[in-house]
């Protein structure tokens, strides 16, 4: 018998889709009980187009090759103390933010995709989600391994998982993913598969990896390259889920639009952390946040939404506000963290003169007018030995959980402040976007575990901030937190490179 050649599509169908069968001993709805409560209508799962046709044998083979190469680099990096080759030790704070803020999200994605990888009734969608779950597990584990060596030479990495569950600014990314995972399976896919992995990935994951490339961080950038083909698969899955939902039934369109609005706004709020990383934390800048936003959201995202218009999908609500914010976001966010660095597990600092000039050049409309004077004032205070730390605890937005520090876009001196009343109780928001999200599902967002409220209610092991930081967050005070200048990180860095700080020089001279 001569074997006929099977094309990839037919072969994949036989090897995956055809494994499923019509149940007769159990009701389908009992096997997939979560498919209907969101109001999404799926009329025919067989219309699902497999975004990639990867069988397990090929998956094991390719991924094993990638892992072998990646771990060879990690080993070489550790053996040669590659951490000495980063541009300067301030950079390392960017990857502290990554390990404590982003890697745990990869873990949550692993959980979330396993959940939908069990719950979707269509075997094609199920299997694609399972593979993404496995990839996400890869990402969190390889990130832990990539940074394991940094952890041995810098402070602030050591308790990332413990901190992610507790620390005030980490509740921003944590609540974002908790929100998506506690939603129904289709909303999860629009939130994470589409909005996060497709629309915003170039503004989240990629800037960290580019930052690593520009600043001599071989371990992290090698991980980034190694994850690239995984990310490409995740993007095609994100796009397929949107098209599938929109093509299945016209009633899905308004539901999907509302989810896009919500998750676009949730996402842009979380990207505040990335914006300050790009503009302030990278000694060698890749591009400004504003430039990145223009390229990856306004241009690429604009083209995407033009493409989706044929389904009746529009640009996300509040895209206009988000676009206006590109001029301010990073400066306002860095200000917040500069204020509260005594309560953070990474260091901040005031940009030096050259860096301020770069910011002036990149932000001609706003930096000199609104931010430079404030930063110069803080720098003066620091020089006078009175580095500014804000001793109060900030009020947090009930939805995004960022301290209420963002301003109105038509008046950057006025803090933006919105309120809603639900069941007689008043709730506060940083923006119209966050208020809308709350107003649509108040019963969900009243549950938010707001770190500042929790401290005041005595749920974080103590009444005073220092006890909370030390015992509940497990921060090493005076080591993990405070300004970069004078930190043990800085001292070690100078020792490695035989550098003397200005203060040391002065001391020796006197």
């Amino acid at each position: 018998m001569t074997a006929t050649k099977l094309n990839l599509k037919d072969r994949y169908r036989l090897l995956t889709r055809d494994l499923d069968w019509e149940y007769s001993y159990q009701n389908r709805k009992d096997v997939f009980p979560m498919e209907e409560f969101e109001g999404i209508k799926i009329t025919d799962w067989s219309k699902w187009e497999d975004p990639f046709r990867l069988t397990m044998d090929a998956y094991w083979k390719y991924q094993a090759e990638k892992e072998k190469k990646l771990y060879a680099i990690f080993d070489a990096f550790a053996q040669n103390n590659g951490q000495q080759n980063v541009k300067d030790a301030r950079y390392v704070n960017a990857i502290k933010l990554f390990l404590t803020g982003v890697s745990p999200l990869e873990y949550q994605a692993y959980n979330g995709f396993a959940h939908v990888g069990r719950q979707f009734g269509g075997v094609g969608a199920r299997v694609a989600c399972q593979m993404q779950s496995l990839d996400e597990l890869r990402h969190v584990q390889t990130q832990i391994h990539a940074m394991s060596h940094y952890n041995k030479h810098f402070d602030g990495f050591q308790d990332f998982a413990h901190m992610h569950d507790r620390v005030w600014y980490l509740s921003v990314p944590k609540s974002f993913f908790d929100d998506a995972r506690s939603a129904g399976p289709f909303e999860f896919m629009v939130a994470i598969g589409f909005s996060f992995e497709y629309v915003l990935t170039n503004l989240l994951f990629v800037p960290f990896m580019s930052g690593a490339a520009y600043n001599g961080d071989m371990a992290t950038v090698t991980f980034g390259f190694s994850a690239q083909s995984d990310e490409a698969r995740h993007m095609t899955l994100g796009l397929e889920i949107i098209k599938f939902l929109l093509e299945q039934h016209p009633d899905n369109v308004p539901i999907v639009q509302r989810w896009i609005n919500k998750w676009f706004w949730r996402g842009t709020r979380m990207l505040a952390l990335v914006s300050m990383m790009m503009d302030y934390m990278l000694p060698n800048r890749v591009m400004s946040w504003k430039e990145a936003w223009e390229v990856y959201f306004e241009e690429a995202g604009g083209a995407l939404f033009k493409d989706l218009a044929r389904y009746g999908i529009e640009m996300p609500a509040y895209a206009g506000t988000a676009i206006a914010e590109k001029e301010h976001l990073s400066h306002q966010t860095w200000s917040i963290f500069y204020n509260y660095t005594h309560a953070a597990a990474f260091h901040t600092w005031m940009p030096d003169e050259r860096e301020m000039d770069w910011l002036s050049e990149k932000y001609p409309n706003t930096f000199d007018k609104y931010y430079r004077p404030r930063f110069e004032h803080w720098r003066e205070m620091e020089r006078a030995g009175e580095r500014f730390y804000n001793p109060t605890l900030p009020m947090l937005c009930q939805t995004c959980q960022i301290p209420m520090g963002f301003t109105e876009m038509n008046d950057p001196t006025l803090v933006s402040y919105r309120q809603s009343v639900y069941k007689g109780e008043r709730f506060n928001f940083c923006s119209d976007g966050c208020k809308d999200i709350f107003d649509h599902e108040p019963e969900k967002y009243v549950q938010s575990w707001l770190p500042v409220h929790q401290i005041y209610q005595g749920n974080c092991g103590g009444a005073d901030v220092e006890t909370v930081l030390k015992d509940y967050y497990k921060m090493n005070l005076g080591v993990d937190n405070m300004d970069y200048r004078g930190s043990p990180d800085e001292q070690r860095w100078k020792q490695w490179h035989n550098l003397q700080s200005a203060e040391d020089k002065l001391k020796k001279a006197s």
Partner: protein, 333 residues
């Protein structure tokens, strides 16, 4: 004489992450440890899941099994993602060579029609059972507790998809890529009376909500019986009856099963050793599923591997359970 390259040594400020230091002491930790212990979210979940409002995300009560510390488990294979894919890539490489050899030498042509028909009826329908196993292990991953367990469930789940795909490829080798044998096998799965028990067992497992109960139903009871019946007994019978070349195509399943047993046994053992309540629950589940599986598998066991086959498989299951400290009352009686 040895060659000695001088490198700058920098003293480290800590040996490992805090989560591994707290658990294993202040010394360098292995990659398995750093990437598997205490990294799952545990506290301060923000919102109740809309799909299960009475629980939290990562809720430890999605099973009736109770563990003081869910991280007492340890995968004896020490699989984290990197070691997992590399171990499977090795198995895959051997399988690929076997499948290519089988195709290149046209070994299907040397098999009698009876053998081909028998394989189509007795082996290929298992690809559907493997899909149920895939879903049941995904439940363990999605709703289970502690990365030491949940990651192993995911690896197992993906392995089952891989096995379903290898089984499908056996069909394609037999039918010259027409897919006819897979259609016939699916027909058997759907309508042949000898398969209906197995299909019923599979479908019933898909509505079980307790993920640890599912682990017992699928990975312990069903898998032990199926892998003994089809990949040991049936394999032997095929070899004796002129189908030895088929064995080349099921080597992956045999090797995989040996590997998977190491993990499954360790989970059983650790769970049973934790408390009498756990042990009692495991015995209850084992008894209930053993009884069902014995009835459900018996017809196909007989046509595949003979009338003593089911008893032999049950003996293999009981031996395994005994070793893990879970003694089925049915077996003891």
């Amino acid at each position: 004489m040895t060659i000695e390259i001088k490198t700058a040594t920098l003293s480290t400020i800590r040996n490992t992450y805090e989560h591994t230091r707290r658990r294993f002491g202040d010394k360098p930790a292995s990659r398995y440890q750093e990437a598997s212990y205490d990294i799952a979210p545990e506290n301060n979940f923000h919102y109740r899941p809309l799909w299960e409002p009475e629980k939290f995300l990562n809720d430890k009560t999605r099973t009736a099994i109770v563990m003081e510390d869910w991280y007492v488990y340890k995968d004896p294979r020490q699989f984290y993602y990197g070691t997992y894919v590399q171990a499977r890539a090795k198995l895959q490489e051997v399988a690929e060579a076997n499948y290519s050899f089988f195709a290149k030498r046209k070994l299907a042509d040397g098999l009698s029609d009876e053998i081909k028909e028998h394989v189509t009826r007795c082996l290929l329908p298992l690809r559907h059972m493997e899909l149920a196993a895939n879903m049941n292990n995904l439940s363990g991953c999605a709703y289970g507790t502690a990365t030491v367990l949940t990651q192993a469930f995911l690896y197992n789940g993906m392995d089952r998809l891989g096995i379903a795909q290898y089984l499908s490829r056996i069909g394609l080798l037999l039918d010259g890529n027409s897919g006819a044998s897979l259609a016939t096998a699916k027909d058997y799965w759907m309508t042949d009376p000898v398969w209906q028990g197995v299909r019923r067992y599979a479908e019933n497992s898909l509505v079980v909500r307790d993920w640890f109960e599912l682990f017992v139903a699928q990975n312990v009871v069903m898998d032990t019986l199926v892998y003994d019946l089809f990949y040991r007994q049936y394999d032997k019978k095929l070899s004796a009856e002129g189908g030895a070349d088929i064995a080349m195509l099921t080597e992956f399943m045999q090797e995989w099963y040996r590997d998977s047993c190491r993990w499954v046994d360790s989970v059983l053992k650790t769970t049973a050793a934790e408390s009498d309540a756990n042990r009692e629950l495991l015995v209850q589940w084992v008894d209930a599923y053993r009884e069902k599986a014995a009835v459900d598998l018996a017809p196909v066991a007989e046509i595949a591997a003979g009338e003593d086959a089911m008893a032999e498989a049950l003996a293999a299951l009981d031996k395994r359970l005994q070793k893990s400290g879970v003694i089925s009352r049915a077996a003891a009686a």
